[in-house]
Symmetry: C2
Subunit: 347 residues, 2 copies
């Protein structure tokens, strides 16, 4: 099926990436790696072309989010989860997104270490994400990378990212099922409760469960869930879901079968309640919004330090104008340009 | 001086925060803390009112950025730097920004630990930043917090953040002088070279300089600078600046006098070359852009999952429409609404 066979889909202009797309759809890993590099580093037109070609081919991947504070063992957990999903014959892609790191994946040591145990396996693909060249950052690049991996036929796409809630990549808005990983002795379980963790966790993972304090952490989590239930935030209503707490020792692979079952249970819940459709729509909302914001941002930056933004900023720096009024005037200018053809406002 | 006395500055509507602003300008710490909480959690109208009132009063603070990978001792370094600046009778504010943490400051343990040694000192103010409520995240809240601290009369505002380059908060775009902190044995010096670290560092800090490997790290940095010089990226041209490398043991306060001198030297360079004016304008560019983007974002989100974005996303999720075409149509709709008064498009 091609993009143009779908109603309402603009026919993409054939470009030099057509071969790349063909090879990617053919299952060639190098083509996949190169396509993801384009998503990281390509021109806006290359990204548009790739996503417009690949988007119609997707829609089948399950997107799993793995998040948690530094030190809980997220990478190890993700790696073990990939192994466990492979035993069920699912093709698995991992996107490791670290907004605090400037280092992207591809050739870096990090990804090679991560690949341990998956080297000979064509059914696992692991990739770190950075977004050096982009105006929109990782929240711009990540959902487009998911479109690529989805089209490439992976059954599961795992997005692993540091932090909860404040992360640049809103994992809860991106994933079908969000795993929140914790570990004993991190001292953050109570604080975490304040940060809306209950609202984003579909499954809690107590990793490093062989360490002392795992039981205490689990009871604290249970207490939190009870309190959340009492206040109406958890397990209430027609679509009630009570996030299970799964104990793992990811480094040994312990508890991974239980984790996969918990994910599957949540998947069944998503299907039964229609919540799955809602999450897919949320994911599309996020993608469309980020693309639109990137286009607006690109319009602002017509030449470095040049243009209307530069002139307004100059007056703000001199305290002749306050920044809110300057922002209003900048947008008025953008709005004035509404009739400009898209081609000339892109970067 | 009031905002309305400046040419071109829109007269802010008097609001319930006027008292707060008066007390803040009066030097009351609680008023300052409350104002920063408004920047984190307030409504768009509250933020607009505060920034429009306070922006004209600022323009005197020196903004210092402290960045580096986790584990290099940034918090300790920042704390020691604040102490060293106090001995020169400068009033110092610290904004600790951690995009990977959902936990804000104010009452949290972290800030109390940070305050060690500064408790009785009215000349130091330390605050962690989160941006839970905001559509624009930390890149939206941080520059507005700088406006507040500047108006409150601090001589130095130190913004401390994790990571380089990819951070949600573009510290190099915000600071007058950016310190890049490293420590021996972190194994990231070579990778860092690839990540454009040379472009953002005004001063390199080799912290934990009493540990083995400090000499090696420093020579690697020197080699990097030489290579950068050879390729034209460092110390070339009329405004050439050669980033000094300062060794510190922040936990003991060693090397802090040298660090303050290096910062002052860079400040003199900024003044001599006119680069300081450029950085102030860059900071204004960032602030105005983020405010404008937040307003665009707010227009997209007319009701949760409602409105044009929701309808377009629905079609994207069904693969009837590709996300780029959907984003184009969303912006066309926003452009249609250009005549809408500002008040009704804010959140």
């Amino acid at each position: 099926m091609t993009a143009s066979s779908r109603p309402g889909t603009a026919r993409p202009v054939p470009g030099p990436d057509d071969d790349l797309v063909e090879r990617l759809l053919d299952g060639q890993r190098r083509a996949l790696a190169r396509t993801l590099s384009r998503i990281e580093d390509g021109t806006p037109d290359q990204l548009r072309g790739l996503v417009q070609r690949l988007h119609p081919m997707g829609g089948n991947a399950r997107v799993l989010g793995v998040t948690g504070a530094p030190g809980v063992g997220k990478s190890t957990l993700t790696n073990a989860l990939a192994t466990a999903l492979r035993t069920r014959d699912r093709r698995v892609a991992v996107l490791a997104v670290d907004p605090s790191s400037p280092f992207s994946g591809g050739a870096l040591l990090g990804d090679r270490v991560r690949m341990q145990g998956h080297h000979a396996d064509e059914g696992v693909f692991i990739r770190s994400m950075a977004a050096r060249g982009h105006l929109g950052g990782l929240s711009f690049a990540t959902p487009q990378a998911v479109v690529v991996l989805d089209a490439a036929g992976f059954d599961d796409v795992i997005i692993e990212t540091v932090g909860v809630g404040q992360s640049e990549v809103d994992i809860a808005g991106t994933a079908d099922t969000t795993l929140v990983a914790m570990a004993p002795g991190m001292g953050d379980s109570i604080q975490a409760a304040k940060a809306g963790i209950l609202e984003i966790a579909d499954v809690f993972v107590v990793n490093k469960a062989d360490q002392s304090g795992a039981g205490k952490l689990e009871s604290e989590l249970r207490g939190m869930l009870e309190m959340g239930h009492a206040s109406g935030a958890v397990g209430i209503g027609r679509d009630a879901w009570w996030p299970p707490i799964v104990r793992t020792v990811a480094v040994r692979g312990d508890g991974l079968e239980e984790l996969v079952s918990a994910i599957d249970d949540h998947g069944a819940h998503l299907a039964d309640t229609g919540l799955g459709e809602q999450r897919r729509r949320d994911r599309a909302v996020q993608l469309v919004r980020e693309l639109a914001l990137a286009r607006v941002r690109a319009r602002f930056e017509v030449g470095p330090g040049d243009g209307r933004l530069g002139a307004l900023a100059e007056r703000v720096a001199r305290r002749e104008l306050d920044p809110y009024t300057a922002a209003d005037r900048l947008l008025d200018n953008v709005d004035d340009g509404a009739a400009t053809p898209t081609g000339s406002v892109g970067r």
